[in-house]
C-alpha cells in the first residue's frame, strides 16, 4: 500500500483512539445502547390489558382468552366476563388495550356455522404496539382453533402475517435488535467520517493536507478507510449483545453478514464524506448528520413497514442504506439468508456507495480553494 495512505490511516486511528471519550463512544456506547434499547423495546408490548366478552357456553373464545392470559403477554383488563360493557368505552377510558368481541350468538356457534367473525378492538395510539397485539391475537386464535378443532378450518378466519412465520412468539427483541444494530452502525460510521473531515476544514489543517502533493484519491481514502475499519469493529460487539443478551438467532452465514456489513459501512462512510463536502464547521456537520439520520431511520422499515408507505414516497426507502441493511440483517440472522434478497440488497448498497462516493469525489475537488 502507498506510504501516504498508510500514514493517513495510522494518524486517523491514533486520533480516534487517543481520546478516551471517543473510545467510549466507539466501543462502550454501542454495547450499552444495544442492551438498553433492546430491553426497553422488548418490554414495550408486554402486559397488554385484554378484555373479552363471551357467554359461558362460548368455549372456544374462552379458550382464546385464557391462552392469551397464560401466554404471558396479556393481563386481564379487569372488566371481562359475561357482563357486556361497551368495548369502545373500555379502550377510550384506558381500562383495556385490546378487547375481543364475540359475534352474535357466540364464537363457538359461529365457527360451527362456518362464518366465524371475531372482532378485535385495539388501541392504536401506539401503532407498533397495536400491530404486535394484532399479531399475538392472530397467532393465539390460530393455535386455539388448531387445538380445539384438531385442525385448521379450510378457510382460516385470519390472515397470517410474515412476521408470525419467522418470529412465532412475536418476540420484538428479535425483530427490533437488528434495527438497533443498524442505527448504531450508522452513527459510528456516517457521523464520525463526516465530523473527521469537517474538523480538518474547520481547524485549517485541511489546507496543510492539500498543500502536499497528494491526490484526491489518497485524501478521500485516507480519511475514510479508517472509519470503515472502526465501523467493522462494531459488528462483533453489537452482534454479541444481540445473540447472547437477546437470544436473536444467527441462522445465516457469518460471511454473508460480514459482506453485508462491509457494503453497508462503505455506503454510510461514503455518504458521510458526501455530507462533509457541504459543511464548513462541526455544527453544520452535526446538523447534516441529523438531517440524514431522521428520514433514514423513518424509511428504514424499523418503525413503520415500508410496504405500508404510499408508492409516492416508497422510492425513498430504496435510496436509504438503512432499509437495505435492516432487510439484510433480518434476512441473514432470522431467516438464514435467501440468496436473492442477499444479492438484491447488497447490490443496492454497493450502488449507493458508488454513487455517493463518486459524488463526493467530484465535489471534493471543487471545494479545494
Amino acid at each position: 500500500m502507498n506510504r501516504t495512505l498508510l500514514g493517513f490511516i495510522r494518524k486517523e486511528l491514533i486520533q480516534a483512539l487517543r481520546d478516551p471519550r471517543m473510545k467510549f463512544i466507539l466501543f462502550v456506547a454501542p454495547v450499552v445502547q444495544m442492551t438498553i434499547f433492546g430491553v426497553a423495546i422488548s418490554n414495550e408490548v408486554k402486559n397488554i390489558r385484554l378484555a373479552a366478552f363471551f357467554s359461558p357456553q362460548d368455549t372456544v373464545l374462552r379458550d382464546v382468552y385464557e391462552r392469551a392470559i397464560h401466554g404471558g403477554w396479556f393481563v386481564p383488563a379487569g372488566a371481562s366476563g359475561a357482563v357486556a360493557q361497551d368495548p369502545f368505552e373500555l379502550i377510550r377510558a384506558d381500562k383495556a388495550d385490546a378487547v375481543l368481541v364475540a359475534p352474535e350468538g357466540g364464537f363457538t356457534r359461529a365457527l360451527g356455522r362456518g362464518n366465524a367473525r371475531l372482532q378485535l378492538l385495539v388501541d392504536a395510539t401506539n401503532v407498533t404496539q397495536a400491530q404486535s397485539i394484532e399479531g399475538y391475537i392472530q397467532a393465539i386464535v390460530a393455535r386455539t382453533l388448531a387445538a380445539d378443532l384438531g385442525a385448521l378450518p379450510a378457510r382460516p378466519p385470519i390472515r397470517f402475517d410474515l412476521r408470525v412465520l419467522f418470529n412465532p412468539s412475536l418476540d420484538t427483541a428479535i425483530f427490533m435488535v437488528p434495527g438497533v444494530m443498524t442505527m448504531l452502525m450508522v452513527l459510528t460510521t456516517l457521523v464520525l467520517t463526516n465530523i473527521a473531515i469537517v474538523r480538518e476544514k474547520e481547524l485549517g489543517t485541511f489546507e496543510m493536507l492539500i498543500s502536499a502533493p497528494v491526490s484526491r484519491t489518497e485524501v478521500i481514502l485516507g480519511k475514510t478507510l479508517p472509519y470503515v475499519v472502526i465501523g467493522m469493529t462494531n459488528l462483533p460487539l453489537t452482534l454479541a449483545v444481540a445473540v447472547f443478551v437477546f437470544h436473536v438467532p444467527m441462522r445465516g452465514s457469518m460471511l454473508a453478514l460480514v459482506v453485508a456489513t462491509l457494503a453497508f459501512v462503505c455506503t454510510t462512510v461514503a455518504m458521510g464524506t458526501l455530507i462533509s463536502t457541504y459543511c464548513d464547521n462541526q455544527q453544520q456537520a452535526s446538523m447534516g448528520g441529523f438531517l440524514f439520520m431522521f428520514p433514514a431511520i423513518m424509511f428504514s422499515g424499523l418503525m413503520f413497514p415500508i410496504e405500508n408507505m404510499p408508492a409516492s414516497v416508497r422510492w425513498l426507502a430504496f435510496i436509504d442504506p438503512l432499509a437495505h441493511y435492516l432487510s439484510l440483517l433480518r434476512n441473514i440472522m432470522l431467516k438464514g439468508g435467501g440468496a436473492e434478497t442477499l444479492i438484491r440488497h447488497s447490490a443496492a448498497l454497493l450502488l449507493l456507495a458508488l454513487v455517493s462516493g463518486a459524488a463526493s469525489f467530484k465535489r471534493f475537488h471543487t471545494t479545494l480553494r
Partner: protein, 307 residues
C-alpha cells in the same frame, strides 16, 4: 535581484464569481530572498499565496515556481513549495513526532531521508522537548517553530509563511525571525505575510497589496523614499489639543500626510511654500523635528490611503 527569479507571477487574476480577489499581479522573487507581503485583511495576500502554493489555479495569468507552473499540474508546484498557513498546520491531538511522521508520509519521504531531515530541522529550531510531547501542550512560539520545521520537511526551494507570528510573544517573534534569516541564508526563498511593521523592516523587499492589486514593491528603504518624496516631521504636542483640532490637521493645507503615531504625530509637508507659511504658527503648538518616515507611515499612506 541578483539571480534569476525563483518565483514569478505573471498577470495573476483570481475571481470568485463577480468578486475579483486578485487583480493582475506580476512580480518576481530571487533565490534566498525574504519577501514580505503586506496589506490590510482581505487585500488578497492569502489568495495570492494560495495560487503560488499550487492550491488555487488562477482565473488568468500564470506562475513559475522554481521552473514549474500550473501547466505541469498543481502537484508539481506543491513539490517545490512549503506552506505554513495562518491557521494550525499541526494537529493538537497528536504528538510532535506523530505530526512530523504524518507530514513525511504525505510528502512520501523515504524513511532514511526523513529521519536525517527531521534531525537537521529540529537542530535548526533547537527543539529540546521529547518527540512524544503533545502539540497542544506547546507554547505558541514553539508550536510555530515546529510548524516551520514541518513546512521545510521536504526541503522545498520556496517556503510560504502566512502570518507565522500571529499570537506569538515578542521574544518568540524575535526567535522566529532569526530562523527565517537562517533559512533564507541557506538559499531558500522565503515569502512571509505579517501585520507587524518591525517584521516587515527585516524583509529584503516588501510588496504592498490593496484591494487585490499590488500597489508598491521595493526594499523598505526604497519604499520610504518613493512613498514620501517630501520631508517628514514628527509633531509632539506641547499642551493638550482637542480631538477636533487634531482631526482638522488631517485635511489641513500645510500637510499632505498627518497621522497619529503613539502620543505623537507624523506629518509630511504639502509644499515648501505652504510649510514656510505655516511652520511658525505650528511651532507654538508642537515640538517639531525632521525624521525619516517609518514603514508604518508607508503602510498607512499606501494601503489605507486617504483617497
Amino acid at each position: 535581484m541578483s539571480e534569476a527569479a525563483v518565483v514569478e507571477a505573471r498577470g495573476l487574476v483570481v475571481r470568485y464569481g463577480d468578486f475579483t480577489a486578485v487583480d493582475r499581479i506580476s512580480f518576481a522573487v530571487g533565490r534566498g530572498e525574504i519577501f514580505g507581503f503586506l496589506g490590510a485583511n482581505g487585500a488578497g495576500k492569502t489568495t495570492t499565496i494560495r495560487v503560488l502554493c499550487g492550491l488555487l489555479p488562477p482565473s488568468e495569468g500564470g506562475v513559475s515556481m522554481a521552473g514549474v507552473g500550473y501547466e505541469q499540474g498543481e502537484r508539481a508546484i506543491k513539490e517545490k513549495v512549503g506552506y505554513m498557513s495562518q491557521r494550525f498546520t499541526l494537529y493538537n491531538d497528536l504528538t510532535v513526532g506523530e505530526n512530523l511522521d504524518f507530514i513525511a508520509s504525505l510528502r512520501k519521504l523515504e524513511p532514511a531521508a526523513y529521519r536525517r531531515r527531521r534531525r537537521e530541522l529540529l537542530e535548526l529550531i533547537a527543539f529540546d522537548k521529547p518527540m512524544s510531547a503533545m502539540v497542544r501542550d506547546l507554547s505558541g512560539g514553539i508550536k510555530q517553530q515546529v510548524s516551520l520545521a514541518a513546512a521545510l520537511l521536504h526541503d522545498p526551494e520556496i517556503v510560504f509563511l502566512d502570518e507565522p507570528t500571529a499570537g506569538v510573544t515578542p521574544v518568540g517573534r524575535e526567535r522566529f525571525w532569526g530562523l527565517i534569516r537562517r533559512v533564507a541564508g541557506g538559499g531558500k526563498t522565503v515569502f512571509v505575510t505579517t501585520h507587524y511593521m518591525d517584521e516587515a523592516e527585516q524583509c529584503g523587499r516588501v510588496a504592498l497589496m490593496r484591494e487585490g492589486r499590488l500597489v508598491a514593491l521595493d526594499s523598505p528603504a526604497g519604499l520610504k523614499k518613493t512613498v514620501f518624496p517630501e520631508p517628514v516631521f514628527e509633531f509632539d504636542p506641547i499642551g493638550r489639543l482637542s480631538f477636533d483640532k487634531l482631526s482638522a490637521y488631517k485635511t489641513h493645507e500645510a500637510f499632505s500626510f498627518f497621522e497619529s503615531y503613539g502620543p505623537r504625530f507624523h506629518a509630511a509637508a504639502a509644499s515648501p511654500e505652504l510649510w514656510a507659511a505655516w511652520a511658525p504658527r505650528l511651532e507654538k503648538l508642537f515640538r517639531i523635528r525632521p525624521i525619516a518616515p517609518s514603514l508604518e507611515d508607508v503602510f498607512i499612506r499606501v494601503v489605507e490611503a486617504r483617497r
